[in-house]
Subunit: 284 residues, 2 copies
C-alpha cells in the first residue's frame, strides 16, 4: 500500500520538522491537520497555509479522522502521548515518527500500542540549526536520506507505505535499517559528530576566533549550535552505541596525537591516506 | 606603500593557491610571471591566460625583474629556494608567501635573507580540497581571511604593502598577527579540525556510510580529503602548539563522554549551552 491523496494526515508536534512535513504534504494536495502545544505555532501555520486545520489541544475527533499520524516530538513526549491518547486513533491508522533514536523507542511503542493500528518508524536525516514551525522548509529533504526502521512486528505493507511517504516528502534516498543498525549508524554519523562539535567549541573561549576562521572550522562547528534538551535526551537513549563510537574516535585521535608527538610522519601520512580514500566515496 | 599596477609580480609555485593568486592579480591588470616545477602547469596557465610568462626553471632574469615575489611552496621547498636563488632577487623587492605555519619558517627566512629585500609573511585562509593550477579559482578569497604576519624585523611600509595585496586579491577581511599568535590560532582553527576529520574517517571502515550520511557528517569531513605530504609537514612544523590544542580537545571529549557514561544530563547540557553561545558569534 502506498500513500495517496485520499488519506488524511495528522501531524503531532509542529516544530521545524513537523512543520516541514506539513508544508511538503500540503503542497502535494493532502489534507493536513496538526496538534501542537503552542497556540502561536498553530496560528502561524494556518496563516501561512502550511496546514488545513490545527489545535493546541488533543481533540479526539481530529485524531480519529486521521489515516496517517506523524509524530514529531521529543522521544519521552512521544511515548507519553501514545499512552495517554492512543484510544482516539482510527482503527487501521498508520503511525510514524521522526525520532532520532530507535531501539529505545520503537519496541516500547509497539508493545503498548493497540493492535488495530500499526507503528512503522522512520527517521528523516534532515535538519537545520534553527527551530520552530516559523523556520519550516521542505527543501531540506531534497538532498537528504530517509530511513525506514521496521521491526519483526511490522507488515510489508506498512514498510512499503512508509517508503512511499519518504518519496512523497521529496527525500533523495530511501533506505531501511533495523533499529539496532540504525542506532549504531546514527551514533557514528550524527551523534558523534555533534559531540565533536560541542567538545571543540568548549575547547577555546577566545572571543576573537571568528576574525580568523576559515570555512573548514565553520563547517565543522555548524552543528555546535545545538538544542541541549533534545540532544541530551537522544544521547542518553542511545548511550551504549554512542559511548562505543566515542571511544573508537578518541583512540584514533590519541593515535594521531602520538604520531605527532613522536614525529612519526609516515604514521600520520598513513592515517591521512586512509581518510582521503574513505572520504572520496562520499563525493560520488 | 601600497601595491600598484606598475609592479611586476612573480609567483613561485603554481599550484591551487599560486594559480589563484595569479588569476586574481592578472584580472586586476598586473604583469604576472610564474616559476614552477611542472611544465604542464606552466603551459596550462599560459593557455588560460592566468599568467603572462612562465618557466619550469629558475631563470635569473625573471626573478630579477620582479618587484614582488610570492612563494606558494611547501615550507621546506620555500626555505631551500631562498638559500639557492636569493642572489637573483631585485634589490628592494618585496617577498611574501602563503605558508600555513609561521614561527618555524619566518624567522629562518628573515635571518638568511639578503638585507636589501624584505620578507613580509602572510597567510591566505582559503583553500579547496583539490590541487593544482587546473583548479585555480580566485573566488575562494571572497569570504576568506587574509592574515599578515610581521616580525620585529619588518617595516611599517611592508606591512601596509602586504595588507594592500590582500585587498587587491579580493579577501574579505585583512588582519595582522605575530608568528606565535598565528601558529596558536591556526593550530586550533585549522590543524586541529583537520586532525579531527582524519581521526573520524579512520574510526569506521563501513563502506556503506554514504547511504545514510546527513549534511553534518559531510560538512565535518569535507577536509578529510587531505594532502598527506603537505599537512604532515605543517603539523610537524607546529608540533608544540598543535599538541596543546589536541590535548585540550581530547580532555573536553573525555569530559562529555564521562557525563554520558554517568548519565549526567545536566553536565552534557551545560557543555551544549556553552557550545551554542560560542558558535552563535560566528554567524554575525
Amino acid at each position: 500500500m502506498k500513500i495517496n491523496n485520499g488519506m488524511k494526515i495528522l501531524i503531532v508536534g509542529l516544530g521545524l520538522m513537523g512543520g516541514s512535513y506539513a508544508m511538503a504534504l500540503k503542497k502535494k494536495g493532502y489534507f493536513v491537520s496538526a496538534i501542537t502545544r503552542s497556540r502561536s505555532s498553530v496560528d502561524f501555520a494556518l496563516k501561512k497555509g502550511i496546514i488545513d486545520k490545527g489545535s493546541d489541544e488533543v481533540i479526539p475527533e481530529t485524531v480519529n479522522s486521521a489515516d496517517v499520524v506523524i509524530f514529531a516530538l521529543y522521544p519521552h513526549v512521544f511515548m507519553e502521548w501514545i499512552e495517554n491518547y492512543q484510544q482516539y486513533f482510527k482503527p487501521g491508522a498508520i503511525i510514524t515518527d521522526v525520532t532520532g533514536v530507535k531501539g529505545a523507542v520503537v519496541y516500547k511503542i509497539q508493545k503498548i500500542l493497540r493492535k488495530d493500528v500499526e507503528f512503522i518508524s522512520s527517521h528523516p536525516m534532515a535538519g537545520r540549526e534553527v527551530y520552530g514551525v516559523k523556520n519550516a522548509d521542505d527543501s531540506i529533504f531534497k538532498k537528504a536520506n530517509f530511513i525506514v526502521v521496521p521491526t519483526g512486528k511490522n507488515t510489508e505493507s506498512a514498510v512499503e507505505f512508509c517508503k512511499s511517504l519518504g518519496t512523497e516528502l521529496g527525500f533523495w534516498k530511501i533506505t531501511a535499517l533495523s533499529p539496532e543498525a540504525h542506532d549504531e549508524m546514527i551514533a557514528f554519523l550524527s551523534q558523534l559528530t555533534h559531540c565533536i562539535a560541542v567538545a571543540l567549541m568548549n575547547s577555546s573561549d577566545n572571543p576573537n576566533l571568528s576574525d580568523y576562521t576559515g570555512d573548514s572550522f565553520r563547517d565543522l562547528t555548524r552543528i555546535a549550535k545545538i538544542n541541549e534538551d533534545m540532544w541530551s535526551e537522544l544521547f542518553l537513549l542511545n548511550k551504549e552505541a554512542l559511548l562505543k563510537e566515542m571511544d573508537v574516535f578518541l583512540a584514533k585521535m590519541v593515535k594521531l596525537r602520538n604520531f605527532l608527538a613522536l614525529e612519526d610522519a609516515e604514521g600520520m601520512k598513513e592515517m591521512m591516506r586512509i581518510s582521503t580514500l574513505r572520504r572520496e566515496k562520499f563525493d560520488n
